[in-house]
Symmetry: C2
Subunit: 224 residues, 2 copies
């Protein structure tokens, strides 16, 4: 990150994002981002109201990466699965940034676009405005959680430290009394790590769509 003459808002955001990705949200510091551009901390305040404004921009950048699939004439739930997957694809490169998204989906422009599309599909599915809103909120927040809590993820990217923490966590589960916690002990592996991230996310999307379709979905599987 060598600095050019003039500071640039987008590059500041990029720097903050790289810190988030590498070391987690708490590592993002006004002083630190400034330092990477060889600039005084106070210089950032010409580009952002405050630190929260910087984090808003980071969240916005994640949301901007979402490539909304074009609408077509497939059943709504298939389109919904694609929409959610597109959102996932944008978040997965930046798992440490996901906590920012809970509050901010309805603040950023591209978050509004995602929400609008979600609501549209739910309306096509025949949901009332109220039901659609509730399901949309739940679905998007659940998606964020899916990334936030992907088993085997640690705040830092350093693979050595991550593996170490992971092993420690699993080891702790394995020392539990198997009489009291038989299933936890048996599932120590899958509880702490994720054999296939792809499968994890695919099933996650499927679960959310299933929840949206409701308990009667399978009874009328192609209902619009």
């Amino acid at each position: 990150m060598p600095a050019q003459k003039r500071l640039n808002r987008d590059e500041l955001v990029a720097t903050a994002m790289s810190v988030v990705d590498a070391e987690g949200l708490e590592a993002v510091t006004v002083r630190r981002v400034a330092q990477q551009h060889d600039v005084t901390p106070m210089a950032l305040y010409r580009h952002f109201d405050d630190k929260d404004g910087l984090l808003d921009a980071v969240a916005e950048r994640v949301l901007d990466d979402v490539r909304l699939p074009a609408a077509d004439d497939r059943p709504w739930h298939e389109q919904m699965a694609d929409l959610l997957t597109a959102f996932l694809d944008a978040m997965r490169p930046h798992p440490n940034a996901t906590p920012l998204l809970f509050d901010r989906i309805l603040s950023a422009e591209s978050g509004l676009a995602i929400t609008e599309r979600t609501l549209t599909l739910l309306a096509e599915a025949g949901m009332s405005v109220d039901d659609g809103a509730e399901h949309a909120c739940k679905a998007l927040n659940f998606l964020v959680t899916l990334v936030l809590t992907e088993p085997g993820r640690g705040d830092d990217t350093d693979p050595a430290a991550r593996d170490e923490a992971l092993r420690a966590k699993r080891a702790r589960l394995l020392t539990l009394d198997p009489a009291r916690y038989p299933h936890v002990v048996a599932a120590a592996g899958p509880l702490t790590d994720c054999p296939s991230a792809e499968a994890y996310y695919r099933r996650g999307v499927e679960s959310i769509v299933t929840a949206m379709r409701g308990p009667a979905a399978a009874a009328a599987p192609t209902a619009v």
Copy 2:
């Protein structure tokens, strides 16, 4: 919170919890908790390794409040709904503390008990160890998210400030271009507030259980 002669770990946790409930997680400060007990900040370090240890204890207290329902012979998914509801009932009085729970369910003793029960029910449902672990993680984390993102919740309890922020948020949605975001504008109300918390949580549990039962659930509704 007047202080007695000797500091007491449980009362420190209670103080921290009351701060969390009243003003949010960021308001919890070693100095502040100490002050409420008329004690030097460093005194807390005789009872907790560090601030994170204090927060661990806060999270643990929430989990300790879970009253696990007794196992019976109803279908697993009905018992699951009750289990999840019990977890919800423990979290709902402390929504600001919920972010602590994502990482800590498998650390606290009572979190292990909840997880064990969840895994047991999923095993009864015929799930493999791997599938059960994945569904259990998702379900518990989704539940946490349900409380964390309940529409219309702000970090502070002060009802005046909360209402103000809520109104502002909704007003912003209503100023959007209805041609671009018709559904968002139409759903501004339910997107920002929650008419009935009870219904919101009931449907949330229902959604999670539906997701667990999978797309084929309704086809064989009483399958064990």
